[in-house]
């Protein structure tokens, strides 16, 4: 036993040593890039990485090894602050990129100016998933405050997804009542009163609606809804895109400090810039995200109905303000849920 273990230890140590010592050499030949990303983007980036590699190989003759790390994006940002050497971040929340500047000064404060469209190569919005033939005849946010409609959405306290839905409802009410605060609050109170289940995360809410059959409408990202419709064809779910909703951005950025130390700054920048090319935008659209490229936009217009998109600036000034006023403990969300 002891001898066997020793042998095993030696072999494994030897392999690991070659791996470690071998990796700088590997970097010289084939660069490797680490992309720190959010939870539900695995398929998307698996596909994009291949696409980018083809382009990069054609241009430079090099093959890039692109490594992916996926988890909730707040947790991912925390890991980078604690020393995870990611070259690029591709997140679903602007605040999680901001924190990389605030806590670790790992990228410049004006990171949003580095790439087009405020560094958000694709975006989505919050829409409704309803059951077959839309039995409750849900069309817009007003219908979600009706007494006979039950809603499922993730908790805005714990989930960015839920926060977006809350802000979308808020934005709609602000438009409708011309920012009359008493009326807006009354609308939101009714809306929150219709919530049957508050799940902690987006995938949990989807499961509640689909697997447990609870609720008349699920509120989540349009991209997620399209995915659910495709994944459960026999249920014949339908998507309802409201008249106005929240502009959910998917920010990307080069994490400059670690990227420069890894010698990857140019590669990392190219990796993100390539997201804006027509082919890449087409790929992103095939994963049900909305894109900015005019050609692709025209091609896929049928899949993405027009609506008025409201930004965080229009609804709450900025993210910091939104968090303090609405989602902090004792904030608007807490007050409006009290009955």
């Amino acid at each position: 036993m002891a001898l066997k273990l020793n042998y095993l230890t030696k072999t494994l140590l030897a392999t690991s040593l070659t791996l470690i010592l071998g990796s700088p050499a590997a970097i010289a030949d084939n660069p490797s890039l680490l992309n720190s990303s959010y939870d539900v983007a695995r398929e998307l980036f698996a596909s994009y990485n291949e696409h980018f590699n083809d382009h990069w190989q054609e241009k430079t003759g090099q093959k890039v090894e692109i490594k992916q790390s996926h988890a909730g994006s707040s947790r991912q940002a925390q890991a980078i602050i604690q020393g995870l050497r990611a070259d690029v971040v591709t997140y679903n929340q602007v605040t999680d990129v901001d924190i990389l500047h605030e806590r670790g000064n790992l990228l410049p404060k004006d990171w949003r100016q580095k790439l087009p469209n405020a560094s958000s190569p694709y975006y989505s919005t919050m829409a409704f998933l309803v059951r077959k033939d839309n039995p409750k005849n849900i069309k817009d946010w007003d219908d979600l405050t009706r007494d006979d409609v039950d809603l499922v959405l993730p908790n805005p306290k714990t989930s960015g997804n839920g926060r977006y839905s809350y802000l979308a409802a808020l934005g709609y009410a602000q438009l409708k009542f011309n920012k009359d605060e008493a009326k807006v609050d009354k609308f939101l109170r009714k809306f929150l009163g219709r919530v049957a289940v508050f799940d902690t995360g987006g995938r949990g809410a989807t499961n509640t609606f689909v697997e447990r059959g609870i609720g008349d409408a699920l509120l989540t990202f349009e991209s997620e809804i399209q995915g659910v419709i495709k994944a459960f064809p026999d249920q014949e779910f339908q998507i309802i895109v409201p008249s106005s909703s929240f502009l959910a951005e998917f920010p990307v950025a080069v994490v400059e400090k670690p990227a420069k130390r890894n010698g990857n700054f140019e590669l990392a920048t190219a990796y993100l810039e390539h997201l804006y090319t027509e082919d890449s935008q087409r790929l992103l659209a095939s994963f049900n995200y909305r894109v900015h490229d005019p050609v692709v936009k025209a091609e896929t217009a049928a899949n993405f109905p027009d609506l008025k998109l409201l930004t965080i600036e229009e609804i709450a000034g900025n993210w910091k303000n939104a968090m303090q006023v609405h989602f902090a403990s004792g904030g608007k969300l807490d007050q409006l849920q009290r009955r």
Binding site: L12, D39, E43, Q68, S69, H70, I81, Q82, G83, G104
Partner: protein, 286 residues
């Protein structure tokens, strides 16, 4: 015997619970039902799910690049953790059972810290200490040493989590055995090393192996602490338990259960070895 029993019940007119055959059967049946539904059924489900798409897909999943890497990393972690904790455990047990010194009791209590602390907290402690904002982490960063979010960090937390197993197995045994045999060996002219090899080691052999088996099982299966310091980089810092979760979140159920069968098979093997070692331990004790 039966005479005695009937006479006894005649005297007391009382029956103990379980004297009635139907009740006895009911209780035994209930125990089997519970064990079956809570322990055996889930285990079977793992294998059934893994093979649900056929043996072919099972092999495809198993030979996936990332799965193989996860297996390799998990083995590497175990191969580094087990010998380290074996030496540490023997050393510590020997120290606290053969010597009297100030702080001995405190030391014995401190050994149990990894048992008392939640694995997630253990992971966070290491992250706060060795992460780039930590006390040691800043220095490591300057010298370009990456411990956290790389395999050394995973080994570190696993060593922490599993360090009590060997020592905890050895201490009661060595206390009970006392040091008289070792003293006899020394007085007959054995060197320290000879004494350890010829007297101490044979006495603690089975308990030591038992500790090693437990250490190994825990090192391979640890999730919480490893998850904190891993950084979730697929094909680089994903151990087998993390890989199972990752595949599950990818909606790749068959893949997740395929990786889970490896862990389950290891658990079963551990059980068999453990039972055998317990039996040998009893044999050598009597």
């Amino acid at each position: 015997m039966s005479n005695h029993k009937t006479s006894l019940s005649k005297v007391s007119h009382q029956q103990r619970i379980g004297d009635q055959p139907w009740l006895r059967r009911l209780l035994i049946g209930l125990a089997f039902l519970l064990v079956g539904s809570l322990l055996v059924l889930p285990l079977i489900a793992i294998f059934a799910q893994a093979l649900s798409a056929g043996l072919n897909i099972f092999w495809v999943n198993l030979s996936d690049k990332y799965t193989l890497h996860a297996i390799g990393l998990t083995l590497l972690v175990a191969a580094l953790t087990v010998p380290l904790n074996l030496v540490f455990g023997v050393f510590l047990a020997w120290l606290v059972t053969r010597f009297e010194f100030p702080g001995r009791r405190i030391l014995m209590t401190l050994i149990d810290i990894p048992f008392a602390v939640s694995p997630v907290v253990a992971g966070l402690m290491y992250l706060l200490l060795y992460g780039s904002n930590g006390w040691v982490g800043g220095w490591l960063m300057e010298n370009d040493l990456q411990l956290m979010f790389a395999w050394p960090g995973i080994v570190m937390v696993t060593v922490f989590i599993t360090c009590p197993f060997v020592a905890r197995e050895l201490i009661p045994l060595m206390q009970q055995q006392g040091s008289s045999e070792e003293e006899a060996a020394l007085s007959l002219g054995a060197s320290g090393w000879q004494m350890f090899r010829r007297v101490t080691l044979p006495n603690i052999k089975w308990a030591l192996l038992y500790g090693v088996v437990l250490t190994n099982a825990r090192a391979v299966g640890e999730f919480g602490a490893v998850s904190v310091v891993s950084g979730n980089i697929r094909g680089e810092t994903n151990t087998l338990p993390l890989h199972v979760e990752l595949l599950y979140q990818d909606y790749n159920l068959v893949g997740a259960f395929t990786s889970a069968t490896l862990l389950a098979a290891l658990a079963l093997l551990t059980l068999v070895v453990k039972t055998f070692l317990e039996w040998r331990q009893q044999q050598s004790a009597s």
